[in-house]
């Protein structure tokens, strides 16, 4: 057990040194870090609990996905039936389906055939056409169109992917460093933004769908009357954001939507000096807006954001230039954020915040301080105790544990892992446990010496017998760490990572470095007596 070939000894020392040195890039200043070659640009990321920042989990509600899909199906059904010249008396959303009533009962089959086109194989035609995303069925003169459960699931996943893109664009506009936006499960998005003082603006930016539409106001009925009875077919009653909110009867048909914007900027109205958002349409949007305004001079149209009427100006003359402005009693900040939202585009569905954790920079700095002090105090106490107990062998143990801790940070850097406060606790605990491997070895050596072995043979036997125990006992602890890694989130995962890595490096140093140092000492000193 005490024999090492020269190559093996060299390999152990070099490997340990390299792993420890991997931590160096993390200690460099950002500019020096940039100058490193690419494969060395790996460093430990401080968790949000240490550097301060916001962690927000957003969720796509399946109900919203269903509503979105139903609205789509309703509009598409109307268009299909109109194009096929099939008369219908009603197309409306009822519960979780779109119900279509054809005017002539014998048109039922033709309408059914046409509306079946709405159902698409899940995952696109290329996916091998398994299940359909929509169920279409006919009974009597009514056709029921309902999104299938699997179809909704697929659309939820798709909505999450689209939302991630849009959220990224929105957050990039905030100019914070290194935000992280990740999918979490089927219907969640995890957003981590370091170094933010007040997350309320971030939440406001994430929480808005920002669906902008331009639609005509139906002036054939008075809004108050429409509220009493039923609004005319093909219209909705929407409210303004005034206090108290004003109702408007708005046509469901969309003239132009937010997708057709190419740019939006905050600015000031030259006459009233109040903050407004100016926007520009793309060619398609400009053409449609020009046509709509030409045909409806004298009528009011509404600018609608997320089902709220922002303003409803009267069209005085056709707007042909393809640009315009939105005014709505904004503050400068509101105008600015609205411009960001419009530039980034609308979310396919609303997102709901289901979890939020924000740590201010002050607490983060305090936690780093606390972690540092605890680590240093812990390490010094353990080192002193080990040296008091085992003398020279105690020094060997302390060196091994120091290398061990260096390697933990080196591996963390290589993995680009996140260091959290519980993670630091994991390192401190590893220090406590890593010396255990040395204790096991040394106690075994003592025992073997007491049993009458010569010094060298006792040291040899001590190592070989103790190493089996070290392996066994550490594997069980590692299992606990691995489970923790899978079930934990955030800071707890940070603990599992450092603790798990710590167990691996502990076993590694016990088998290599500690043994090597003891072997070198034995060869040099040729001891007659076990020194512990």
């Amino acid at each position: 057990m005490l024999y090492f070939s020269r190559w093996k000894a060299l390999a152990i020392v070099v490997l340990s040194a390299i792993i420890c040195l991997m931590v160096v890039p993390s200690l460099l200043s950002p500019t020096a870090f940039e100058k490193l070659p690419g494969f060395l640009q790996r460093k430990i990321v401080l968790g949000l609990d240490l550097q301060g920042g916001s962690y927000i989990v957003l969720e796509v509600q399946q109900n919203d996905v269903r509503q979105m899909r139903l609205t789509q199906l309703r509009d598409d059904s109307r268009r299909l039936l109109r194009d096929a010249k099939i008369g219908f008396s009603n197309v409306a959303i009822q519960g979780d389906a779109v119900i279509v009533r054809v005017r002539e009962a014998n048109d039922g089959d033709a309408a059914l055939a046409k509306l079946r086109e709405l159902a698409q194989p899940i995952g696109g035609v290329m996916a091998g056409g398994g299940q359909l995303d929509t169920d279409v069925s006919l009974s009597g003169d009514t056709i029921r169109i309902a999104p299938s459960a699997a179809g909704l699931q697929a659309r939820t996943i798709q909505a999450v992917s689209q939302s991630i893109e849009i959220i990224r664009k929105r957050i990039d506009q905030l100019g914070t460093t290194e935000p992280s936006i990740q999918r979490q499960g089927a219907d969640r998005i995890q957003v981590q933004v370091p170094g933010l003082q007040d997350p309320s603006r971030l939440k406001a930016l994430l929480g808005q769908t920002a669906q902008l539409t331009f639609r005509l106001v139906d002036t054939s009925v008075n809004a108050q009357q429409a509220l009493q009875g039923r609004p005319p077919a093909g219209t909705d009653i929407l409210y303004s954001q005034d206090n108290p909110p004003q109702p408007y009867v708005i046509e469901q048909r969309v003239l132009v939507a937010g997708e057709d914007l190419t740019d939006a900027q905050p600015s000031f109205d030259p006459q009233t000096r109040e903050p407004v958002v100016t926007f520009r349409f793309n060619t398609n949007g400009a053409r449609r807006f020009a046509e709509a305004t030409q045909a409806n001079v004298g009528r009011p149209f509404a600018i609608i954001l997320d089902n709220h009427v922002i303003s409803a100006p009267v069209i005085r003359e056709p707007i042909l230039g393809g640009s315009g402005q939105i005014s709505g009693n904004f503050s400068v900040q509101q105008a600015n954020d609205l411009a960001i939202l419009l530039r980034a585009g609308a979310l396919p569905v609303p997102l709901q915040v289901v979890e939020e954790r924000t740590v201010g920079p002050g607490l983060g700095a305090d936690s780093i301080q606390a972690g540092l002090v605890a680590s240093i105090v812990g390490a010094v106490l353990v080192a002193l105790f080990m040296i008091a107990t085992y003398g020279l062998f105690g020094v060997i143990a302390v060196v091994a544990v120091a290398v061990n801790v260096g390697m933990i940070f080196g591996i963390l850097a290589m993995l680009g892992a996140t260091l959290t406060l519980p993670g630091i606790a994991g390192v401190v605990l590893t220090v406590g446990i890593a010396v255990d491997s040395n204790v096991l070895i040394y106690e075994r050596i003592r025992e073997e010496a007491r049993a009458g072995r010569s010094a060298i043979s006792a040291i040899d036997a001590g190592f070989s017998r103790a190493l089996a125990t070290i392996l066994d006992s550490n594997i069980t602890t590692f299992i606990a760490a691995a489970v923790l890694f899978y079930v934990g989130s955030g800071p707890v995962r940070g603990f599992a990572i450092t603790f798990g890595i710590g167990i691996v490096t502990t076993v590694f140093t016990a088998f290599t470095l500690t043994r090597l140092m003891a072997a070198v000492w034995v060869r040099w000193k040729r001891p007659q007596r076990v020194p512990i």
């Binding site: 289901v354 606390a370 605890a374 080990m386 089996a468 066994d472 079930v487 599992a496």
Partner: protein, 325 residues
Amino acid sequence: MRLLRIVPDDTKFDFMRFRRISFPISALLSIVALVAFMTVGLNFGIDFKGGTLLEVRYPNNTLNIADVRSKLESLELGEVQIQEIGSDGEVLIRVAQQPGGEQAQQAVVGKVRTALGDAVEYRRVEVVGPRVSQELLSYGIVGLIAAVFCILVYLWFRFEWQFALGASIANFHDIVLTIGFMAIFRIDFDLTSVAALLTILGYSLNDTIVIYDRIREMLRRYKKMPIDELLNASINSTLSRSVITHVTVTLALLSLVLFGGRAIHSFSVTMMFGVVLVGTYTSIFIASPLLIYLGVTTRTMAEKDAEAKTAKAEGKPATGKPARP
């Protein structure tokens, strides 16, 4: 230099006799823990209960708890806990989960911020909605069960079933006592507590296995020794290691408890209890004597070895390298 030696060489303490005391004590403590868990219950943090937590600092001695309380009470947010922490003008505010789904939870932070104003430092804000807290709780429970199961399977492969069973009973006992401790002392039970429980589990097992390893070795070597005597000898010969490791872990944990900061305080305290007080006691006074009741005898080992020998004879011959001098 004279080296520190806590446990004298050749200690021969009759641990096995203590099982007549330690077993009833453990049984009693476990019952107390279970009763505390059922009646007082765990002090669930917002991770598992949902709700809002704010840590706020009033600069330059401007903290007036009564004022904070009256401001928050006027918001009518239901159950609100206000707790002064440290001496630096810091307050911990906990607002129970609001009725009305996810959005209602989000509104709480805005209301509290308007009530307290901008002159204070918001050091920490956490909001956990009802769905997430439900999931975190079930993940925590699943995690604990999965860990116990995985470890059991490993032990079963590595040792005999008696050892696996003994270790798991001992571990279950550790977890029950720790949970009882958390219930009685009203320690926040949150995600980090699950981490603490799992670490206690891993650590206590680590300890148990070191002793079991020695028992197994002794069983192979001394085929004629009575089991009581053999267990005693095993524990005594590993006692020095148990005590020394115990001290180092205690030192590491002590520095975490004293200097590690509030964010991990409940974690450190729980670990201190579980590892330092319970873990080692269990390995020595519970896990090892249990083997007697589980019917471990020197024959157990002999049978196992015979089995291994026949298996080896049937398979290919051993190809171990000769030992180096």
